[in-house]
Symmetry: C2
Subunit: 336 residues, 2 copies
DNA sequence: GTGAAAGCGCTAACAC
DNA sequence: GTGTTAGCGCTTTCAC
């Protein structure tokens, strides 16, 4: 039989109220004699407070939910880690949900998290979500969206990165290196970041007076396989290019592999730039030039914002667009 | 104000017991007229059942905890994904905890998970854990250890892979390719898997009558940086080798990078084998020969086992050692 | 088929 | 400083 606060109270010959106070550190008014006695008993019998029961009365579970497409996608572990670190620091616990970019799964998780009475939700909407669902709309707890904003989500708080600018900087860098025919292998164009990176790419070309190629945009999925296949096809179809700006690092790594297997010299014949700066970007050779996304920070700051909302503080900022940075490594310049 | 089961009962002019039954599908004995009325009201007012309150009485939270060293380490996302998939399928929710290989953090999480009344825990012990802590010992809910077993954990159920055999197979493969001086760059030798892989490595050499080099074992951490540095040092110190068996893929990828930057031809001059078969192993060129760890399956099966224990079924097996498989790719053979 | 009522383990207001 | 007590929202037994 589980030992409860009543057992401790009985054994220590105090009331449950007293035990509750010492367990929760609200023991300024408890004499140190009783405090110590209570603590000794707790230790002796191995009492574990039931936070579920506390939650019943406090209306706080000290739990937050994180909904992402897929933790196995290298973009998300760091984000998740950032969230968990802040959560842990603030005494919160993290429920992890993988939506697989599936709207129904997303909605099911949103409902479930609310049933479990989480105090708030951090949410990376799937790339296919274009508008607010009814599940999302009836949420009455704080929600922060990360990386991808959702049109029409009322009183929305969000953490995003400046994708347009990041892409602009990356492509400008490529142009300055001297690459002339730069294509863009992107992720699914339904996703906001993909759209934004694409506009940044276009703006960079424009501002350098370069007219984009007819076939400049090749859109697919955010995977290494896609990057590999896209480049293979380019080569098969004999489409010319001397630079590729990729929608993310996975695509770029796949592209790099395809370039290598076709004996195309990177960076001398073709320049290659990714996006995200995942761990692996530095583990290939040549190392991948990419746009550093502050993934960990996004998670951490989102959690920070969420916790402050949970505590009832209106966050100073509703919208934080974190800065990206082009990290020049071995797949660009050294040039030509 | 939150709407509760009482509100629904009042609005539908039934008792809370009836509402409870329809919400939980125990409505065989409820007339379809009332059932539908109740469901309509629930829908109309947007009632969300409070599972915390149910948990109070059912003593079930339908939540499991997962403690791993670090979700940002590429080994764990797949494992976590496997756990979450099974959990979700069975109606469980996953709490994610990163221990950073820190025993205190681990113990704190163990306590916390119990306070939150999770129904069970899946646990990858940190590489520094050599014995059962008191926190771990007073756990009264099902625990499954994954990947790393813990000496002395009573009534332990575990999922591990056969590390010794995996290493044996990998090194045998290298020998058969013709590599003669094969070194082992390992992770921390305090960790069980590291020890087991090392014995597999030794056994393979022995069984092929090869005497290990004086400097054959170079142990460090499970990171790409370590692999890179280890190889650099080997080269600086002018230690000869024509094969490296690495403790994991990260180390191998780092090693590959160092080999490339020193213009050492892989696989013709040096053969290289990793361990784990992380996603990135196929994204480098040449693609990495490695030992496939069924990470996803480990997570999935661990969760399966855990759920069956939660349901009170003694699992048929207490100990499941999953098979590994050598995946021959571009960093070995093609030989010499 | 449906409802009344007890109680899960805890906190917080208030009394003493 | 410490105790009494009324719930928190739900499930479940048992009676009708």
């Amino acid at each position: 039989m589980k030992v409860t606060i009543k057992d401790i109270a009985r054994l220590a010959e105090v009331s449950t109220a007293t035990v509750s106070k010492v367990v929760n550190g609200k023991d300024q008014k408890i004499s140190s004699a009783t405090r110590e006695r209570v603590m000794r008993i707790i230790e002796e019998v191995g009492y574990v407070p039931n936070r579920i029961a506390s939650s019943m009365v406090t209306k706080r579970t000290k739990t937050i939910g994180l909904i992402i497409p897929d933790i196995a996608n290298p973009f998300f572990p760091e984000l998740a880690r950032g969230v968990e670190d802040l959560a842990n620091k603030e005494g919160y616990t993290l429920i992890l949900c993988n939506s697989d970019n599936n709207l129904e799964k997303e909605d099911a998780y949103i409902d479930m998290l609310q049933e479990k009475m989480v105090d708030g939700i951090i949410f990376t909407a799937s790339s296919s979500r274009t508008e607010v669902s009814s599940a999302l709309n009836k949420v009455r707890i704080p929600v922060i969206t990360v990386d991808r904003d959702i049109d029409g989500l009322k009183s929305q708080k969000q953490i995003v990165v400046n994708n347009e600018e990041g892409a602009f900087d990356a492509v400008s860098h490529m142009i300055e290196c001297g690459y002339k025919k730069i294509l863009h292998i992107s992720g699914p164009m339904t996703s906001k970041p993909a759209q934004q990176r694409y506009s940044g790419y276009l703006r960079a070309l424009e501002s350098h007076k370069i007219k984009p190629d007819t076939n400049h945009l090749i859109s697919g999925t955010y995977t290494g396989e896609w990057g590999f296949n896209a480049v293979q096809e380019l080569i098969t179809k004999d489409i010319k290019f001397d630079g590729i700006f990729c929608g993310n690092d996975l695509i770029a790594l796949g592209a790099l592999k395809a370039l290598h297997s076709n004996n195309i010299d990177v960076p001398h014949k073709v320049g290659l730039v990714g996006y995200d700066d995942i761990y692996m970007a530095q583990m290939v050779s040549p190392e991948l030039t990419t746009v550093k996304q502050p993934n960990y920070e996004m998670g951490y700051q989102a959690a920070e914002m969420l916790v402050s909302m949970i505590h009832g503080e209106e966050p100073k900022i509703n919208f934080e667009a974190l800065k990206t940075r082009v990290v020049v490594r071995g797949t660009t310049c050294t040039k030509k």
